[in-house]
């Protein structure tokens, strides 16, 4: 996947926002790839966690917003316990979600979840899913 690296594609506001919300310094990432190797959802991601970190460093809003990564992330924390730079990548994923959710955006619509599903799911599935993916 080729991306342009130029000042025009670099959104500093996004970098600041993600840093503020997550409290993490993604500039520390030296692209070792341990996070991508650890992620259980790896085969379902359009952009691997390592690359997300690179895109964050570049502030590439477009590529970040097109990636499904924050929305497939299950917040399992495996990446952050193994990151050699002690970056809490889970918080960065949450920040990427929140940047979108706080614009009053719902990734999952509570009223569109099938009733048959709701009847079978444990309550914690809805509580956690709605907390992570609705505004």
């Amino acid at each position: 996947m080729a991306i342009n690296i130029s000042n025009r594609d670099s959104d500093d506001k996004l970098r600041q926002k993600v840093t503020e919300i997550s409290g993490q310094n993604f500039q520390k990432c030296y692209q070792c790839g341990t996070c991508s190797g650890s992620c259980p959802m790896s085969e379902h991601l359009t952009v691997q966690p390592r690359r997300i970190m690179a895109l964050l460093q570049l502030g590439n809003r477009k590529a970040l917003s097109e990636a499904n990564t924050p929305w497939v992330c299950a917040s399992c924390h495996t990446c952050m316990v193994r990151c050699p730079r002690s970056i809490d990548i889970t918080r960065l994923m949450e920040a990427l979600r929140l940047v979108k959710l706080r614009q009053n955006f719902d990734k999952v619509h509570p009223n569109k979840v099938k009733p048959e599903e709701i009847a079978k799911l444990p309550q914690i599935a809805m509580v956690s899913g709605f907390r992570k993916m609705t505004s």
């Binding site: 979840v113 009847a119 309550q123």
Partner: protein, 250 residues
């Protein structure tokens, strides 16, 4: 005989300032918000109902100077306070789910399906704090989340559906609609049935009172009037074990 009536000078109530939607008015301090607004010249065509504290039409939200808190009350019940800064909230949109009540069985999952937004509650307690009837809204939502419909029905008993909880809800739930469904389910499916009531209704349908009713229906007006005035009445001082002489129509 003299019929003059002594009059004393009417004592006027002290006037205090209140702010109705930002505009200042001087109103007697003994009035309720509703009466004070009418004193000030407002005419209620919405947001007014029983005037007795049970219909939930006149929800009012107000603030007091030097105090960050948001207060609420029913306009017909709450007495005005100096510098009160108020507005009416006669209506707040809250969608009620449509369902066929006869298709429900009382399983908690049915409530989850009809109101999935239930799971968006973050226990912020804004609903309980705003409730003018002191209903513990957060607690009944918590009960519903864990499937305890009976507890939710009991906790929400005093709800008058004024809508203030929904207006403050962070999770955007229509709490009072969900509670009403819980109370309906509790009453219809979870509380024990009154078997003696069922039996009595069946007896009546079978004609227990038909003979007596037909007898009355067949009377002319004078006979009916006489029957009525001559009826045996329970004495005011009768004990628990009093029975009428004629028990045919009991």
């Amino acid at each position: 005989m003299s019929t003059t009536v002594e009059t004393k000078d009417a004592v006027a109530a002290k006037l205090i300032p209140i702010y109705i939607m930002g505009k200042k008015y001087e109103v007697p301090e003994t009035l309720t918000i509703m009466k004070a607004m009418e004193y000030a010249g407002y005419k209620y065509i919405r947001g007014c109902g029983c005037r007795g504290g049970v219909c939930g039409a006149c929800s009012t939200v107000y603030r007091k100077p030097g105090d960050y808190k948001i207060y609420s009350g029913l306009a017909c019940q709450t007495v005005v306070e100096p510098e009160m800064y108020l507005t009416q909230l006669p209506f707040y949109p809250a969608m009620r789910a449509t369902y066929n009540f006869n298709d429900l069985t009382g399983a908690p999952e049915e409530i989850f399906e009809l109101y999935p937004e239930l799971f968006r509650c973050v226990a912020c307690n804004a609903c309980t704090k705003i409730c003018p009837m002191d209903v513990e809204v957060m607690d009944y939502i918590a009960a519903l989340k864990r499937g305890d419909i009976k507890a939710a029905a009991e906790i929400s008993f005093d709800c008058i559906q004024c809508g203030l909880c929904a207006s403050r809800c962070m999770g955007e739930l229509p709490q009072y609609h969900i509670a009403q469904l819980a109370r309906r389910i509790n009453g219809a499916y979870l509380t024990p049935k009154a078997e003696h009531l069922k039996t009595m209704v069946a007896n009546i349908a079978d004609g227990r009172y038909s003979e007596c009713l037909n007898e009355l229906k067949g009377m002319d007006e004078d006979t009916l009037k006489k029957t009525y005035t001559d009826r045996e009445m329970e004495p005011a001082t009768a004990g628990e074990d009093w029975t009428p002489k004629e028990s045919k129509c009991l």
